[in-house]
């Protein structure tokens, strides 16, 4: 029992097991601290502190001691006071109790499925546990931990760097699209799943990594699904590579089964029971019902914060406004305490996102009715963000989900019912600090009958053109038998292959062309990549580079509800009658002008533009420019005075987006998409002059109407000239569009003939 005195925070059962295991070993880890006693002997240079560790043979005890310091085991520097403080809280995390069990399984098996509910500490701790045993820095390897979201990759890396007492970008770094914060000394790398996939394109066996952790696998993002299928093959070739699949939901048996019955370790989260309430009858208006429920909770329920799930920015901001008004009325009547309402959605600036963590307001006067906060969020508060203090969850049962249908080639965000799994996850949010309540704004019968079991993985709801190009680059030829966890419908693959063929990225056999190889170098949609690569042919690669960057970032125009008119007036300053693409380009050029760069924040604010988005575009442009220089794609511009300046840009646009073209239907407002024959309207945000017969569009958006967004006027002659394969009239069915194209073709032929005569 002497040892117990020394390690009081060790738990008894585990301590016993450790002892049993290490019986008979000369290097009894329990006595490690005795062996380590002459600390002065230790070399102080980095890395050597863990020199005695036997790779894939360490114990939690050893790691525990190393963590205690006083020197940082990875850098050799003295550990800070702050580190010690964090270490104490880290050891309170649920995963810490199972560190030993984890190590056992990790050492024993090549693949491991780890289940830990949100708040268990898996994302921050497991990669560190791995580092102490895998010792990547001593083997010139890295440990990768993927995240579905860029923000998560950044913030978790930041946190773990603090926990390990190293500076971000050194031993611990992150890598996201268009931003890489790693160095040669990096041993633990947080990255988006998409980034790891891109790395695999150049390094098919991912040789830089000794352990790969796929975190938040339950979210089933497109990139995670592809990575799982890929890594399933890689682990066969690389027996030294370890793989950990981490999921937050208990239904992890699917992962186990997929990975040939890999062992599973589950860590319970810190959760309390949540009582679930259903409505007696379906709601006529779920938003209105949600507001009513929130106010009712506020007026009648005990202390505790409220989390309401709604679908999108507009709906959330609107609800915030209404609840604030009603709640202040309630407070004035003395029927409730103060209520602070915070919105939360992806496009919200980080500073405002941070507000959700502020504590609930105090009662108006001492002993008065308690104040509380109410967070109205999209489904990002469902799994990825942990907000303490939530006791009441209001769940109307909807979220905005991406959908793709290859038959009409539309990829859009649609408000759809959530799954049962999602509903459970939402309810669980109420039980983080103490027993909570979840108010579902639907009947129990509807929950049972109308909700699907699991949310469809992203791979079933996405256009796969970009993915197919990546896989082809990865050397996977037989996509038909590629072992995905949930294979998409064959038509989705069919359409993706066809699109890549029209873009000349794949030949008729389905093999990668030189253009396809080049396009795959760009972290872009194939259409955008092809547009960029072919832009020197139109003497405007500088401009197309800017435009590509602008199309890769969130909306640059800001249009606040209370200032719509002024915002539109400001936009008109930049408007180009030939289209939105040209307008965006005008904005960018103005943004880069000296006048604006003097005080870009003020300038963007004055012009109702998003400073963040433009800055991001600037950064993306720089990254893309590097790739272009590396690939020796010439950067050039048509002189601005040249009357072909804008025409060249419009033609270059066609080179990438010839499959996203619509023609005006008669003289009316609506347009018909080429080949898919969908009736669409120009999105109200367009700046187009009225008489554009043909337009290219960036997006086909489905709401209660079909819209095409970000449109620019083009000429039919260009379509026939630049994309003759796609505009082969024999492949068109009879109709208005074919007739119009035929007329154009006849005109072109006549002109050519006239030229010939002269």
């Amino acid at each position: 029992m002497a040892t117990r005195r020394e390690h009081e925070d060790d738990e008894n059962p585990r301590a016993k097991r450790v002892k049993m295991e290490s019986n008979g070993h000369t290097d009894n880890p329990y006595l490690a601290h005795w062996n380590d006693e002459p600390k002065s002997d230790r070399p102080s240079n980095s890395g050597d502190l863990l020199y005695k560790f036997k790779r894939h043979g360490t114990t939690s005890k050893q790691a525990h001691d190393a963590e205690d310091g006083p020197l940082n085991p990875f850098t050799g520097k003295a550990l800070s006071q702050k580190y010690m403080g964090i270490l104490k809280t880290r050891r309170d995390l649920p995963v810490h109790k199972q560190r030993h069990e984890f190590l056992e399984l990790y050492q024993k098996s090549q693949i491991l499925v780890f289940v830990g509910e949100t708040g268990s500490g898996k994302t921050t701790q497991i990669p560190q546990f791995v580092c102490f045993d895998d010792l990547p820095h001593l083997n010139n390897k890295m440990v990768a931990c993927t995240q579905p979201r860029r923000v998560a990759a950044m913030s978790v890396a930041q946190r773990v760097a603090e926990e390990m007492d190293v500076s971000l970008g050194e031993e611990v770094g992150y890598s996201i699209r268009f931003e890489d914060r790693t160095s040669p000394s990096t041993m633990l790398k947080y990255m988006t799943d998409g980034m790891l996939l891109r790395e695999a394109m150049h390094d098919n066996n991912l040789t830089r990594y000794s352990t790969i952790i796929l975190d938040e696998a339950h979210e089933r993002t497109l990139a995670t699904d592809i990575l799982m299928a890929l890594l399933k093959e890689v682990v066969q070739r690389r027996k030294d590579l370890k793989l950990i699949i981490m999921s937050a939901t208990l239904d992890a048996t699917k992962f186990q089964k997929y990975f040939h019955d890999a062992p599973l370790l589950a860590v319970p989260g810190r959760t309390h029971p949540v009582e679930i309430f259903y409505t007696p009858a379906p709601e006529r208006d779920y938003v209105e019902a949600a507001l009513r429920t929130v106010l009712q909770i506020h007026a009648t329920e005990g202390e505790g914060d409220i989390l309401l799930f709604l679908t999108g920015e507009e709906e959330i901001e609107d609800a915030c406004r209404k609840i604030r008004i009603e709640a202040s009325d309630l407070m004035q009547e003395g029927a409730a305490g103060p209520l602070e309402v915070y919105p939360l959605y992806g496009t919200l600036p980080p500073a405002q996102q941070q507000k959700i963590f502020s504590s609930a307001p105090a009662p108006l006067k001492q002993g008065g009715r308690p104040g509380r906060k109410c967070i109205i969020s999209t489904n990002i508060a469902e799994t990825s963000l942990t907000i303490d203090g939530i006791v009441y969850v209001v769940d109307p049962g909807f979220s905005k989900q991406k959908v793709y249908n290859p038959r009409i080639r539309v990829e859009s965000l649609l408000v759809s019912p959530i799954s049962k799994a999602s509903a459970q996850q939402r309810a669980g949010r109420a039980g983080r600090t103490r027993p909570g309540k979840c108010f579902r704004l639907y009947t129990e019968a509807a929950f049972k009958k109308e909700l699907i079991e699991q949310t469809y993985p992203e791979i079933l709801r996405s256009n796969l053109a970009s993915t197919v190009l990546e896989l082809k680059k990865l050397g996977i030829d037989d996509l038909v038998h590629f072992d995905l966890m949930d294979p998409p419908a064959p038509e989705t693959l069919m359409r993706a292959l066809e699109e890549l063929n029209y873009l000349a990225c794949l030949d008729d056999e389905g093999d990668l062309t030189p253009l396809g190889k080049l396009a795959s170098e760009f972290p872009l949609d194939p259409a955008l990549a092809v547009m960029l690569i072919s832009s020197p042919e139109f003497y405007c690669s500088n401009e197309m580079l800017s435009l590509t960057a602008l199309l890769s970032v969130p909306q640059i125009f800001v249009r606040p509800a209370k200032d719509r008119k002024r915002a539109d007036e400001m936009k008109d300053l930049f408007a180009h009658p030939d289209g939105d693409h040209l307008t965006m380009l005008n904005v960018y050029h103005a943004f880069k002008s000296e006048a604006a760069q003097d005080n870009p924040k003020q300038w963007t604010h004055d012009h109702f533009l998003s400073y963040r988005a433009l800055q991001q575009a600037d950064n993306v442009r720089l990254q893309l420019k590097r790739i272009m220089e590396r690939e020796e794609i010439e950067l050039m511009s048509t002189p601005f005075e040249n009357k072909k300046y804008y025409e060249n840009i419009r033609r270059a646009l066609v080179a990438g987006f010839f499959m996203q073209v619509a023609k005006r239907d008669g003289n009316g407002k609506s347009y018909i998409t080429v080949k898919d024959d969908q009736s669409v309207l120009l999105h109200p945000s367009n700046v187009l002059g009225q008489d554009s017969e043909w337009v290219v569009y960036n997006e086909f958006v489905l709401t209660n109407k079909n819209y095409i967004r970000t449109v620019t006027s083009v000429k039919p002659e260009w379509l026939l000239d630049i994309a003759p394969n796609y505009y082969d009239l024999d492949t068109f069915k009879k109709g208005e569009i074919k007739n119009a194209l035929q007329r154009t073709l006849n005109k072109v032929i006549r002109k050519e003939a006239d030229k010939g005569k002269r």
């Binding site: 379906p282 709601e283 006529r284 208006d285 779920y286 938003v287 209105e288 109307p396 049962g397 909807f398 959908v403 793709y404 249908n405 290859p406 038959r407 009409i408 649609l414 408000v415 759809s416 704004l441 639907y442 019968a445 509807a446 009958k449 109308e450 909700l451 469809y456 079933l460 030829d477 996509l479 038909v480 038998h481 072992d483 966890m485 949930d486 294979p487 419908a489 064959p490 038509e491 693959l493 069919m494 359409r495 292959l497 066809e498 063929n501 029209y502 056999e509 389905g510 008669g666 003289n667 009316g668 407002k669 609506s670 024959d677 969908q678 009736s679 489905l702 209660n704 109407k705 079909n706």
Partner: protein, 313 residues
Amino acid sequence: MAGSDDDDDYMNMVFEEAPKQETALQRRMRIEREGRERGRIKSKAERDAEAEAAREAGLAKELDSSNKGFKMMAKFGFKKGDTLGKSENARKVPIHLDIKEDKGGIGLDSEKKRKFREHMEKAEQEAKRSKVEEGDYRDRVRQEREEKKAEKEFYNAQRTVERLHEQSLEHGKFTEQDVSKGHSPKSAMSVPLKEVNVVWRGLIRHRLEKQRNQKQQRDLKDSLTARLPTLTDDEEDEDDKLALGREAEVQLLDPEDEEDSELEEFDALSFSDRLEKIVLYLRETYHYCFWCKHQYVDATLDGCPGITEEDHD
């Protein structure tokens, strides 16, 4: 040729097809028509409906072997109807697009459908039941019609009573009541209201009310100095009256006549019942048959077929 006309089988004669070439006129008209069709600006609803129809048509159309991607997949052994990957329950068709157009909560649509179905079922049952109820309806309408008729007859009968009463006064005949009560015969208008038989008291009361109202109106109009017999305070002078606005007060009836429970009770009866009572009263008091429109000489009413209207059909 004329002789062979009889042999021609007109029914089975094959006509050469009319020349396909459209004439210049036809062509111009067709182009005009097509132009009009194109030029017409579609209404919003039309557009929405068209867009939805096109979408549904597009969504229903499967990509087939004519697709270039299909050929690339076929190279790896893909056949129509196959699924991708190695999983057994892989998807065969893309996920359907469901566009939510309102803010209805989960389960509302199916609830609406259920309600609609129930509503239709209910409507069906209602239709069946209403056929049964049709007979009742006819009865009710007939009753209403009869009541209306009885009302008219009742008022007629009241006027008849009055006429006979006046006649009896002229002829010096006393009514039974008058005799029994020891009253000297007087015009109904001059006797206290409550002494008039209830069957026709309503008529008199109504007339009195009307007269009094008219009188008061007249008095008001005539002059401010006009004295209302019941209301004037002798000590008040005209100025006081003016100041107190007494003239504006309108008395509908003498206070003693306000309450008349006997009349109220009688009025509560249906018109056909009241008619029956007044008819009997006429027979008993005046030996008059309302249906024969004849005053008989004695109480036997000899020659009258009966007391009801039907008896006189």
